[in-house]
Structures are given as structure tokens and as C-alpha cells.
């Protein structure tokens, strides 16, 4: 398991994390508010995100590839194409009866796919250009409760340690999953395999619970009292605020364009 953050010295990396969080959220909200079939607006949304990705120097291939993650879910929207209202189109398939599809349904389907794709691009950009600690600080400055952020911070810290443990467990299991010489049968029963996997999960949880005791001891011995240490809050600079405001205004304009041109 690897984190997405890619250290670079681009302008996008340097933007205050709070600005990036708010902007990303606003971007996704307005993109999703745009009605279906508003192609010109979609193109502008996409172009915007595309150029931000370019200026982040992450490598456009990286962003595009990564953003295709949402693709499989698109299948959930596929039925729209065939169940939507008239007008119906026809695709000739081999011979009659040909496949009928709904034009409106198809537009909706395409709109959903595009929105999903561009939204993931935005999320990828946020995660890849912002260090997770900065993200946490940003959330704390945006008044997300400290208890919760402590939990998430610890989780992130141990995620990689524990996922390595899981990887090793899986490797250990694989290395003992052999076929006897001269036999073709192997694998045990389905129920047994599930049980073994459950045992792995159980031991993973126990080890984690006991590890958390040690982590707690370590925190205590360095003065942890249960109260979060005082957070330094820097105010947003004027130019950050201006940039954010300009961005949001642009988003509203784009959305209006979408409302006018969309279905």
C-alpha cells in the first residue's frame, strides 16, 4: 500500500491546504450540481482540472490513470441507457430485433460518467499534492473535532505498518499453500479457507489491540494527557482568500453556464 502524495515543488503543492480542501469540495459540489447534458460546462470543468493537474507536475498520465478508478462503478448507471424515456434509438445487432436505447438515458449515463471522472481527478489532485499531516492540520483549522483527527492521524501512521504485516501474513500463507508431490488436489474446503483467513484477521486485530496499549504507553511517557496539545492557527493570507473567492465565483459562473446549456 503506497500513499498518493508525490513531493514536487509546483505552485499547486504550495497552496494552503485549507484553500485546497475548500476549493476541491466546492468544485465537486458545483460540478455535480450541473444538470446532465451540459457538455460545454463539462468541457470547461474538465479543462480547468486538467490544467491544474498539468501545473502540479504530477504527470498527466498519472492523474488520468488514477482517476479511472471510479470506472467500474459506472456499470451501476448503465441500465439508464436502456430504461430511459423516449426518444429511443436503435442499434442494429446482427439481425433483428435490434437493440433499443434511450437517447435521454444515454446522455444521463454519459453525464454521470464524466462527472464521476472529473470529480475523482479533483480528489486525486488534492491527495497527491497535499501532505497528509497538512491535510489534518487544515481539517483541524476547519474545526473538525480534535479527538477525531487524533484517531485519523494515528490510523494513517499505522496503516502502512499494519498493511506490511498483512502483506507478510499473506505471503506466509501463500508459501505454505502447496500441492503435494504427485497430487493435483489442493486447496482444502471453502469453509476451511475462510476460517483460516478469519484466523489471520483475528490475530491481526489482537496484535493491533496490544500494540495500541504500547502506543498509549509511549504517548503517556511523553506527556500525553488526553487533551490535544495547543494547535497553532495561522490565519489565511489575503491572497489565499482572494484566490479562493475567485475560484468559487468562477465555479458558480460555470454552473450557471451548465444550467443554461444543460438538459
Amino acid at each position: 500500500m503506497r500513499e498518493l502524495y508525490t513531493p514536487n515543488h509546483s505552485a499547486v503543492h504550495r497552496i494552503d491546504a485549507r484553500v485546497k480542501v475548500i476549493f476541491t469540495l466546492a468544485f465537486i459540489v458545483f460540478l455535480n450540481l450541473t444538470p446532465s447534458g451540459a457538455w460545454p460546462a463539462y468541457i470547461l470543468f474538465f479543462t480547468w482540472m486538467f490544467s491544474l493537474s498539468l501545473s502540479s507536475r504530477l504527470g498527466i498520465a498519472f492523474v488520468l490513470k488514477r482517476s479511472l478508478l471510479a470506472l467500474p462503478f459506472v456499470l451501476a448507471a448503465l441500465p439508464l441507457v436502456f430504461t430511459g424515456p423516449a426518444p429511443l434509438g436503435q442499434i442494429p445487432v446482427l439481425n433483428t430485433p435490434s437493440l433499443t436505447y434511450s437517447v435521454v438515458g444515454f446522455y444521463r449515463f454519459a453525464s454521470i460518467a464524466i462527472k464521476a471522472w472529473v470529480s475523482v481527478m479533483a480528489a486525486v489532485l488534492l491527495a497527491a499534492t497535499t501532505r497528509f499531516p497538512d491535510l489534518l492540520t487544515a481539517f483541524s483549522q476547519l474545526k473538525v473535532p480534535a479527538l477525531f483527527l487524533t484517531i485519523i492521524g494515528l490510523m494513517w501512521r499505522y496503516l502502512f505498518v499494519i498493511s506490511d504485516e498483512v502483506t507478510r501474513m499473506l505471503i506466509a500463507r501463500t508459501s505454505r499453500s502447496a500441492t503435494a508431490p504427485g497430487s493435483n488436489r489442493s486447496g482444502g474446503s471453502l469453509f476451511w479457507r475462510a476460517r483460516v483467513t478469519g484466523g489471520m484477521a483475528g490475530s491481526l486485530f489482537l496484535r493491533s489491540i496490544e500494540r495500541s496499549d504500547r502506543v498509549y504507553a509511549a504517548m503517556l511517557s511523553r506527556g500525553y494527557t488526553g487533551q490535544p496539545a495547543a494547535q497553532k492557527t495561522t490565519r489565511l493570507q489575503k491572497k489565499d482568500l482572494l484566490a479562493l473567492a475567485a475560484g468559487v465565483i468562477l465555479l458558480v459562473l460555470l454552473w450557471l453556464l451548465g444550467v443554461i446549456t444543460g438538459g
Binding site: M169, A172, R173, A178, T179, S186, S203
Partner: protein
């Protein structure tokens, strides 16, 4: 005699591009006990993982004349038993018995044979009385022995160990070394424990940044201070 392991020109990079092995060539004769040494990150574990096909790099690996490829994988795994550094990674069943029985059960053997193999394996590590214990509650030395039993129960011809003595107290370490001296199988042991190397493994292979930089009698290599120095060992 034919070599039990034959590696030629093996290279491997992790998915993130980190090259962990580079042009490894190696011949192992039946019954040899070999130490694999090198600084942290030298590539020892990665090399061990290749022996039973958990990773597959470019180049060729033959185990008992059987070339390692997709089709042969399950059979090669039955020949090479891998023991991990941390026995907790390897012991995941509610009882010692079930853990040792995993390999034979997966092989699809009948319950009677499985029972026999488990008994033999536990006997080899002198842990017959522990069958019904929960592996989670054992001391680290005991866990290590059970981890070895889980591999022995598959009766592999080759044993591969990843840092077997790490974290053991002096007596547990002593007992483990004695056990390994007793066993007749071919053995490859990745370790930082140079005293164990002296006592247990006549031959040593020294890795550095994924390459074999020395391969020869352990005593020669361990006394070659310049060699050890340039390879981050002293």
C-alpha cells in the same frame, strides 16, 4: 550430485521501481547450510521470497531441476519451506495443531496422513505437548519453533529462514541453533547474527544493494574486515 537450487542472472524490482536484486547467480548443493548476510535493505528477504515463487523476477530459478514458473509453483512450494522473521506473521490459527496442519490440509491430504505429518513435525522441534495450545500465548522462542514445525510438516527438502534468532533470549537462541544443527535439510538463512553464522553455516553469501559481493566459506568472509566494512557490516 545435481544442485538443489540453481539461480542464474536473477534480477527483480519492486512495483515502485526500487531495484532489490541484480544479476544473482547461485548454485546450492543438497544438504548445504548457507548464510545470507548483508546490511538492512541489502535484499536478503527479497531473495528468499524468490525461492518459492512469491516474487518472480527476470532470470531463471530451478529447484530440483524444476524450473520455477506458474505451472510448477505449487510443487516448488512443497519443496521449499519458508520461515518468516516474525512468527506472528506465520501463526494464525486458534491452535498450534491447526497451524501445523495448514500445509498438509491445503495439499488435500486425507485427515489421517495430516495427523501423522503434524505429529512428526512437532516431534522434530520437541513441541509435542503444545498441540492444543493457542500459538498466541507462547513465548517468542516457542513461537519460533512452532513456525518451523508449520514448515516441516510439509516435508520440504529446502528450508529458508528469515532472521531466525532476532529477538530471542540467549537460551532460546542457543536451542534454536541446536535444532537447526540437527536438521538434515538444505538450509538458507538470512541473518545479522554473525555468531550463529560461524557455528551453523559453513558457507556465506554476502549481499549488498541487491548484488552478491562475496560467496565462500563463512570463516573467510567473517574474518575479511575490509569486505565487511565496505558492505556496511562493521
Amino acid at each position: 550430485m545435481e544442485p538443489v537450487i540453481e539461480i542464474s542472472n536473477l534480477s527483480f524490482s519492486y512495483p515502485d521501481g526500487k531495484q532489490a536484486l541484480e544479476g544473482i547467480n547461485l548454485l546450492v548443493q543438497p544438504g548445504e547450510k548457507i548464510a545470507l548476510v548483508g546490511a538492512n535493505g541489502a535484499g536478503k528477504s527479497t531473495l528468499l521470497y524468490h525461492l518459492n515463487g512469491i516474487f518472480t523476477g527476470s532470470g531463471m530459478i530451478r529447484v530440483n531441476q524444476l524450473e520455477l514458473n506458474k505451472n510448477n509453483l505449487p510443487r516448488v512450494r512443497a519443496m521449499v519451506g519458508l520461515v518468516f522473521q516474525n512468527p506472528d506473521d506465520q501463526l494464525f490459527s486458534p491452535t498450534v495443531y491447526e497451524d501445523v496442519a495448514y500445509g498438509p490440509t491445503y495439499q488435500g491430504l486425507d485427515p489421517h496422513t495430516v495427523r501423522e505429518k503434524v505429529a512428526l513435525a512437532l516431534k522434530a522441534v520437541h513441541m509435542e505437548d503444545y498441540a492444543q495450545r493457542n500459538p498466541y500465548h507462547l513465548s517468542s522462542g516457542e513461537k519460533k519453533k512452532i513456525a518451523i514445525a508449520t514448515v516441516l510438516s510439509m516435508q520440504p527438502q529446502i528450508l529458508a529462514f528469515d532472521e531466525p534468532t532476532a529477538g530471542l533470549d540467549p537460551r532460546a537462541r542457543r536451542e534454536l541453533i541446536d535444532l537447526l544443527l540437527e536438521l538434515q535439510q538444505t538450509m538458507i538463512i538470512a541473518t545479522h547474527d554473525m555468531n550463529m553464522v560461524e557455528q551453523l553455516t559453513p558457507r556465506t553469501i554476502l549481499l549488498n544493494h541487491g548484488k552478491i559481493v562475496a560467496d565462500g566459506p563463512s570463516l573467510d568472509i567473517l574474518r575479511n574486515d575490509r569486505l565487511l566494512m565496505t558492505n556496511g557490516l562493521i
